[in-house]
Symmetry: C2
Subunit: 314 residues, 2 copies
């Protein structure tokens, strides 16, 4: 019984050190997870495929961290605090051990940064590209999860950080433009945990498919329309230099928060955000009307956008 | 904003009808899941890749049901009751809509059978084979999850159902042997939910990598050895006809439960199993000694097994 197959040695060497409370050391059929008393559990899952969501030459530690961070961003959008995660990793048989070591090193680093640990998962081989999935678990005070369906006419449209770095960063990561800052922004999102909190933010989601498309999701869920001013949308200095406004508005992978904020809460949100050192910017307003997003240029005219967003699928 | 990408229409048509309480209709960044009061949450994730864990020609509904059932089997092994699941589905762009419809139909059928519903997930494209992952959530009375590490010398080694149908069934599914019963057993495991309960079963896992290898896992986790008699291992009539005992003992994909049972509890376990109409069979005994598994043939001699188990990875 000493000749355990490769799967077990792989798990023991690279994944067991990541395992936290409840994981049972990854040595049982499942993890036993005790939710904090009096909290609701928030749960989300994302898949990432080599060649679709990350580039074949992307370092494994950054791939792992992006996978974890995009899921953390989903928790941030719900106003939830992270607890732990499960991961499935399907790799070609020829994947070198160093790839797993680097992948696990990335997770180790972000586990420390975000206070989460591994609960469980699965490793398998695949004849195709590396395929990953991650399920994140978090918690929230009962009834205080922030949803997409509660924006009201008159609420401001707010965003965190800067918009467009994700889409420009993909071009940079591909070598189509030369900007290390943008490439880093594509490879390593910064989940805005703790920013959107009940009482300050009425509705929220993270910007993963593009600002305009994602704002449309909030409009549809809330039964409102929205108008944003392109000139107010915060761009990083690197993004401004590229002068690709439309791509910034419609490109994906920003993982910033898009929020509906009652005007009476704006000052409190700004104080809260300043305490977290996260910039927040008002870019427009929700209005009554059929769900639709209008983007106005600097002259006030509606912009005609060739595409409204990004899909990893279509 | 009416031209949503394919991903959203796919989710709306095929996955939203599967969504249950807490899923927020799959329209938020995450699900909000309220664990039953006073219960611990049990969670597990598995990946399945086309060409590795299922065959390209396998019907999509059976693939979906196998994915769900293998995860339900992990809950069964922990003595947990199922609550809900998240799924990630990565498919080639050319995958026809009918594949998704059939996949969802399989989930619909098993959701009804096992009392679970969809909480969330992700759909993406892939340039490779279909890659799936499923995270299952269940619950258990605090402290009553059944682990692998509690078998004691003197406990009986018990199994549910019949052993070897999974490995023989793979041969049947591939057309290498002609037996529809076995092919069905490979494609559609029967998770033994409710069988292993605290107080009746001391240690438990499900047989996914082969009886001998999985028994070795319990031995290592519990610090005991085990001895089984090949002649006691329950084979289905179809498996007996194939006369491939060694494959039955070491092949994977049975998804039956392997249990350590205190002799004082044997009668109660048999009563309980009879109530569930699940056969249970004593096949050997745990002993003191370094972790090792001995399989004795009908004459009492230890069998030399060419391989002890199955790995989807190595």
């Amino acid at each position: 019984m000493s000749d355990l197959p490769a799967e077990f040695s792989l798990i023991a060497r690279h994944f067991r050190p990541l395992a936290g409370p409840g994981s049972l050391d990854l040595s049982d059929d499942a993890a036993v997870f005790v939710p904090p008393v009096g909290r609701e559990v928030v749960v989300s899952a994302d898949a990432m495929v080599q060649g679709v969501h990350f580039l074949s030459e992307d370092p494994a530690d950054l791939v792992a961290r992006k996978l974890l961070r995009t899921n953390l961003s989903d928790l941030a959008a719900m106003g939830a605090a992270p607890l732990g995660y499960l991961i499935t990793v399907s790799t070609p048989r020829a994947t070198p051990d160093a790839w797993f070591a680097e992948f696990a090193a990335g997770l180790t680093r972000d586990q420390a940064e975000f206070g989460v640990s591994l609960l469980g998962g699965d490793t398998t081989s695949t004849p195709g590209p590396i395929s990953l999935s991650l399920t994140i678990l978090g918690s929230v005070t009962p009834g205080q999860a922030i949803r997409r369906n509660a924006a009201r006419p008159g609420d401001g449209v707010w965003v965190s950080g800067s918009i467009g770095d994700g889409a420009l960063g993909l071009l940079a990561a591909r070598g189509e433009i030369d900007d290390a800052y943008l490439a880093d922004r594509y490879r390593l999102p910064r989940p805005r945990l703790g920013l959107a909190t009940h009482g300050l933010v009425r509705a929220c989601m993270d910007v993963s498919d593009g600002l305009v498309q994602d704002l449309g999701h909030i409009c549809r869920a809330s039964g409102v329309s929205a108008e944003i001013e392109a000139g107010l949308v915060p761009l990083s200095e690197a993004a401004r230099l590229q002068d690709r406004l439309e791509l910034c508005l419609t490109g994906g992978d920003d993982y910033e928060l898009l929020m509906a904020v009652d005007p009476a809460c704006e000052a409190a949100l700004q104080d809260h955000a300043a305490g977290l050192r996260v910039p927040v910017t008002r870019v427009g307003q929700f209005r009554t009307g059929a769900p639709a997003v209008t983007v106005r240029d600097r002259t006030g005219r509606p912009m005609a956008l060739a595409r409204t967003g990004w899909s990893h699928f279509g």
